[in-house]
């Protein structure tokens, strides 16, 4: 859906809908498969040692775990337009964006396992991944990743680069003050930001209909005089096209855009969530975006059995290498618990 009061995305500076070449299409698929392989491995590792019963504090990967299975098209479609010089601030559900943005899988996995070799030396954990190499960050506090993205964009703008920042929230988070303040400021200062809203219909147990006064967050962009676009059906190529327009606009110095993607949370809000509140649970597997896209690419003659199994095998190997690296890495030394509170302790 395009909001009529904002400039239609197709006419936005930077060109109309992009044509997508075969290589890019396979690449989008490859990214989605890698993300899914990772999330499936996390699912396995997370639950492996929580018993008997389910104790959230137990095991190799303790604490809350929010997996992004089903939401791969958003990260794949957006990050295909970025280089690691661009910034991404993700949410409490960060793995798909981290991976699609090219984070080091070993160090990310090690962080999730709480190891000294992790991105944050085990201090951060799965909701707090920070990687200066890829300008990636995330936050466990809803919508609070939006404002720092403005600052990264501000720095890129001031330095005269065409680098951009991408800020991600869920549709639940779009009801938070920080979301609205950020949209206004970014539009006012024409900051090179692309705002992404992942609408997976649910904020934990609260459906969008009970949390959000408009049918689409794309409509909210109009209030801040920026293009707003909603992509339906979790369609990776449509995300890719919309993101292409928004990214081009930001790089050209024409300011921010907002893209909402109607995506799908395939599993619970967090692991251990029995989802008693959820009514759409039966038809969920039928809407898994990966087999859907795989079918499309097979029909286009871009994938066959061999290619698919090769891609899957290579994703699995990549992930298992990261998991093994994490498991083989040492836990942080308790004597060093106070290190890194202030700058200077990073050697």
């Amino acid at each position: 859906m395009t909001v009529p009061t904002a400039p239609p995305p197709a006419e936005a500076p930077g060109g109309g809908p992009e044509k997508i070449d075969a290589e890019t299409r396979v690449e989008l698929y490859r990214t989605m498969v890698l993300v899914r392989a990772f999330e499936e491995a996390m699912l396995r590792e997370y639950h492996a040692d929580k018993g008997p019963g389910f104790d959230i504090g137990k095991g190799l990967v303790p604490g809350e775990m929010h997996l992004a299975a089903g939401q791969e098209p958003v990260a794949a479609g957006v990050c295909a337009h970025l280089s690691t010089d661009d910034a991404v601030t993700a949410t409490h559900r960060p793995h798909h964006f981290a991976i699609a943005h090219g984070i080091d899988l070993r160090r990310m996995t090690a962080e999730i396992f709480g190891r000294e070799t992790g991105l944050g030396r085990g201090r951060g954990g799965h909701m707090h991944l920070f990687d200066p190499q890829t300008h990636f960050s995330c936050s466990g506090i809803i919508a609070e990743g939006y404002p720092p993205a403005l600052g990264q964009a501000f720095a890129f703008q001031r330095r005269g680069t065409d680098r951009i920042a991408v800020a991600v929230t869920g549709e639940g988070a779009a009801n938070q003050g920080a979301f609205h303040e950020s949209l206004n400021l970014a539009a006012l200062w024409k900051l090179p930001v692309v705002f992404i809203v992942e609408d997976n219909d649910w904020g934990i147990s609260v459906p969008r209909s009970a949390s959000t006064s408009v049918p689409s967050n794309a409509a909210r962009a109009a209030a801040y005089d920026m293009p707003g676009e909603r992509v339906e059906d979790n369609a990776v190529e449509a995300v890719y096209a919309a993101a292409g327009r928004a990214v081009a606009r930001a790089r050209a110095g024409d300011g921010p855009s907002l893209i909402e993607v109607h995506t799908l949370r395939l599993w619970g809000h967090f692991e251990g969530d029995a989802q008693g509140y959820r009514k759409d649970i039966e038809d969920v597997p039928g809407r898994d975006p990966i087999p859907t896209y795989e079918r499309t690419l097979r029909e286009a003659g871009l994938l066959d059995d061999d290619a698919v199994s090769q891609l899957r095998a290579s994703a699995a190997a990549h992930v298992e290498d990261a998991v093994t690296f994490a498991k083989d890495s040492p836990a942080p030394d308790p004597a060093e618990a106070l290190r890194y509170v202030f700058a200077g302790g990073t050697s």
Partner: protein, 340 residues
């Protein structure tokens, strides 16, 4: 409560809900709102069953808009309703603190006592399960530092119900902070005191009165919430070695029962404070000052403070356990103070 009252064994979470339900039954102006408090029943079981019992007009799921819905509770309270509003994790207070400390907490004073704000802000606190720096804090010292709100922190089922009823009936704003580790949740490590007999009838536990969780003569340990349980475990162990520990469960930080602290230290002459909040500028310093302000000579040994050493709560298990006040650190502190 009468001696013949019926009781049931309840977890702390269920006892808390029991208190809320009793008051919702009694007083139609009481309602509960927050994120995932309806069909989900509260992420930490703080509202389980209330939706079925009282319906969606009194048990209300909100958008993720803490400033708006906590502020809404303030406004409704000003108009004479009695809202209970949940901030899912205390760590999220940053997005809505203005409504809490500039509005909820100050209106009564600014109005010269002419406006009352009879509301309860409930929130989950505490760590110990690797939830990282944004989901594991206690922060009760922060709320207690800012004037205008009572701050209660139950440690067990009986108090959880009685303090909740007192909080709802109180005409001042009350912050009710429940530690995830005392709630008796199925999916978290439980201490054995997280389930206990709780009277079916409505009863109150006075806000501002500490409880002697274990009488003793040798060392006073002043603490609150989950640390009460760790300390009781340690006290039982040390009793076998002849170190007789008195454990004081503060139950509320505001008002602080300074008399109970002084009375105990007058008896033992030795003080350990155990606090799962940050060390500096917080509860532990306040407890010590409660004694030294009255009579420093009551102390026959230096005080020990066991708290989180001013570091964000680390994620990795090895690091988190190194900074939290757990059995090993509490035991060492008590031994030191007892021997000094």
């Amino acid at each position: 409560m009468t001696a013949t009252a019926e009781t049931h064994r309840l977890t702390t979470a269920k006892a808390m809900v029991d208190g809320i339900a009793a008051e919702m039954e009694r007083d139609p102006s009481v309602f509960y709102l927050g994120e995932d408090v309806g069909a989900y029943g509260g992420i930490f079981g703080s509202s389980t069953g209330l939706l079925d019992r009282f319906g969606a007009t009194r048990v209300i799921d909100t958008p993720i808009s803490e400033t708006a819905f906590i502020g809404l509770a303030v406004g409704a309270a000003v108009e004479g309703m009695r809202p209970i509003v949940e901030l899912m994790f205390v760590d999220f207070f940053g997005v809505c603190m203005d409504q809490i400390y500039n509005h909820m907490a100050k209106i009564s004073y600014e109005s010269g006592g002419n406006v009352r704000v009879p509301m309860v802000l409930t929130t989950a606190v505490g760590g110990g399960y690797s939830d990282g720096a944004q989901h594991s804090q206690c922060l009760w010292g922060t709320f207690a530092h800012l004037p205008g709100m009572k701050v209660v922190v139950p440690s067990n089922p009986y108090d959880a119900k009685g303090l909740m009823i007192s909080a709802i009936r109180d005409d001042s704003p009350v912050v009710y902070m429940f530690h995830k580790g005392v709630m008796g949740l199925a999916w978290m490590a439980k201490n054995r005191r997280a389930i206990d007999e709780v009277p079916d009838e409505a009863y109150t536990v006075p806000i501002g009165k500490a409880r002697i969780a274990r009488p003793g003569a040798a060392v006073t340990v002043v603490t609150v919430s989950l640390s009460v349980h760790h300390t009781l475990d340690v006290a039982e162990k040390l009793a076998g070695e002849g170190i007789d520990v008195e454990v004081i469960d503060l139950r509320s930080l505001v008002p602080l029962d300074r008399d109970a602290i002084v009375t105990s230290v007058r008896k033992t002459g030795r003080l350990v404070v155990v606090d799962e909040d940050y060390l500096s500028f917080g509860l532990s310093g306040e407890v010590v000052a409660s004694v030294t302000d009255v009579d420093p000579s009551l102390l026959r040994a230096p005080v020990a403070r066991v708290a989180v050493p001013d570091v964000p709560i680390p994620y990795a298990h090895s690091l988190e356990y190194a900074v939290l006040p757990r059995h090993d650190r509490i035991e060492a502190a008590i031994r030191d103070v007892a021997a000094a």
